[in-house]
Amino acid sequence: MTRRSPKFITNSVEVVNLNTHFGDRQILHDVSLEVRKGEIMVIMGGSGSGKTTLLNHLLGLLSPSSGTVRILDHDLGKLSPMERQLLRTRTGVAFQSGALFSSMSIGDNIALPLREHTGLDPTTIGIMTRLKLEVVSLAGFEDLKPAELSGGMIKRAALARAIVMDPELLFCDEPSAGLDPVVAASIDDLILRLRDAMGMSIVVVTHDLDSTFKIADRICVLDKGRVLALDTVEAIRASTDIRIQNLLNRRTEEAEPDPDAYLRRLLGDSSNQPDGIRRT
């Protein structure tokens, strides 16, 4: 595959032995992964497996109970607030729900990072904003408010805002979930183009298998807060691990092996929590 030919020098993201607790519930267990420069890493896993939690760690919105997160060669735990703010101008984030500022027009939303971080004059900012709107095929919508857009348009506008500063590293949470197949495919194409044209490293969290196989260079499979597998698309496809195969073939988990445990759970016996939410 030609697209994997560039020599990767450093890692854009490095996570080492990350553990997270909410209260006394452990959510992530010893998660380690690295995202190489210029690659698209897809984080996948079942609902509640901890994908969003992991992403929030990468964004510095959560701090881990233990372990380190390095973004673009900076340890998030060791940065001063100012250094962290500076680092954040080099990354872009498209949230699952868009998180567009509802009081501002789409154009103002996309222009905001430029206005806040660059000294560019308004004309240039206007041009760059419209350029990014063209990229996500939203030209002409800049004066609308987020409430006046459809779900798919909001996702694309959020993506435009995420890339307006031409970041070195882009995070996307469920970029194509809930979109019609044509729009979903166009977002996949866009993500590939960003990687190819700008050399961005991209971390995508998704449920969508088709899109995963289309865009991923490598896949990280999370299961109940643990990294189940971290490998290339081909290797994941060829994996013999039953849980990975279940995920890939959309099979549900094996039937409950212990009817007594099932009964106890129904009766509300709290000493018998399922694996993912065992108290530690």
Binding site: Q85, A99, F101
Partner: protein
């Protein structure tokens, strides 16, 4: 351990402890927030994240101009009410000619700042809490953070500055309207004229009394903003949470205003 009573007491102490800890944490958060606001005001330009004038002006319009009609109506009403009560009670010992002193002092030192503060807490403090709460649950605050834009600098400082400018202005306006309205009742009652009433007021009210009221309104401005921001920022649980925190912010802001007023008066006026 030894029966239900002990357990209940322990539960109660446990709850009390948690409640106290949460209260202290909230105070700490408030102090840190004020500190951060001052930091951005002083250092924002140097950090290449200046506090911009446009959002301050927008907030000032919303807080100040929007509240003008209701402040006018209420301070006028209270001026007249104070005049009526003042004349009634002073008549009891034949001293109704001294009513202007009482009305002027209580309006300028107490009622104008208090009523304006309570009104603005209900109008703008709640709006601030609701706006921040909605932004929180829509992840707009997270979006600002990951963009490297400080939410405090971008959202809180403009509101704080606008509030600290507009609340004393509104209070000054309430002083004028309240005194004027009181005069409308007092002058005919005492058989004198508005001109004579105005002369009396200006000779009675010292700069010190005006400053007493305006300083309080400045403190109220900080209280309203910080209470609104803290409640808005700690919203969890969707639209219902926004409603709950908005209500809480109004109740807390008004309580804080009244209690602070009492403490201020106790410390300054003796």
């Amino acid at each position: 351990m030894n029966g239900g009573g002990g357990k209940n007491l322990r539960d109660f102490l446990d709850r009390l402890g948690r409640w106290a800890a949460a209260g202290v944490a909230e105070f700490g958060f408030a102090a840190a927030l004020v500190g951060e606001c001052l930091f951005w005001l002083a250092m924002g330009r140097k950090r290449r994240q200046p506090v911009r004038l446009a959002p301050v002006m927008a907030q000032a319009m919303e807080i100040g101009i929007g509240a003008l009609p209701i402040v006018t109506v209420l301070s006028g009403t209270i001026g007249i009410m104070l005049a009526i009560q003042g004349i009634y009670s002073l008549k009891l010992f034949g001293a109704e000619s001294r009513v202007t002193l009482g009305v002027a002092m209580s309006t300028v030192r107490e009622f104008a700042p208090l009523i304006t503060g309570i009104l603005v807490a209900g109008r703008s403090g709640s709006a601030l809490a609701a706006r921040l709460g909605t932004m929180r649950i829509n992840q707009e605050i997270d979006a600002l953070t990951v963009m490297g834009v400080s939410p405090v600098r971008f959202l809180v400082v403009p509101a704080l500055v606008a509030m600290m400018v507009m609340l004393p202005c509104l209070t000054l306006w309430a002083d004028l309207v309240g005194l004027f309205a009181a005069g409308l009742y007092i002058a005919p009652q005492l058989g004198s004229t508005m001109g004579a009433y105005a002369d009396e007021v200006t000779s009675l009210v010292q700069m010190n009394d005006m400053l007493h009221g305006l300083a309080k309104s400045g403190i109220f401005a900080v209280l309203i903003t910080i209470v609104g921001v803290i409640n808005g920022a700690s919203v969890t649980g969707g639209a219902e949470g926004v409603g709950r925190m908005t209500t809480r912010s109004v109740v807390h802001a008004i309580s804080a205003i009244v209690i602070t007023d009492m403490i201020f008066v106790f410390m300054v006026t003796r």
